[in-house]
Subunit: 106 residues, 2 copies
Amino acid sequence: MSIATTPSPPYYAVIFTTVRTDVDKEYIEMANKMDELAKEQTGYLGHESAREELGITVSYWDSLESIKKWKQNTEHLFAQQKGREIWYDSYKTRICKVERDYGFEK
Amino acid sequence: MSIATTPSPPYYAVIFTTVRTDVDKEYIEMANKMDELAKEQTGYLGHESAREELGITVSYWDSLESIKKWKQNTEHLFAQQKGREIWYDSYKTRICKVERDYGFEK
């Protein structure tokens, strides 16, 4: 995984911060499946992910409309429900407009 | 570390995504020092952090003005310079307005 290559702002970010339960059953499979499915969605720009105590996944999108459609995707809705039932103790989702960005590379 | 407790939107987020070099010298000390220093700044609301291949740190702020002041803090400027010289191969900083959020807790 590398830093997402995103266009010039404005664009949108979904910050998804999670605390996992200790139930691993089918979690990795579902997480990978959702990563693949997200990439196929209209308006998907990229994503970044890391987990220690917290999991943080940031996905980038071209518009609020694309984010809304992804949230309502049937397979994704199923994964969200399983997430609440099985894999997550708690989570927070923040929908953001990226107003400015800058970077550094060696 | 737990999910940051943030007020109702709008508020601001700084998504700082990094790729580290293999130089650990003084990194942890400086990272901890910057965490502590950030907490003392006007307008700081909280932060979340995780590292695997990528490091992702999201800090939350009450305004763009608070973010700007933190960016220009003298000790933070010094840490930023050392980061580019020593600890980071690459990074991207994204300044965002959080427009909507929702969560889940068991």
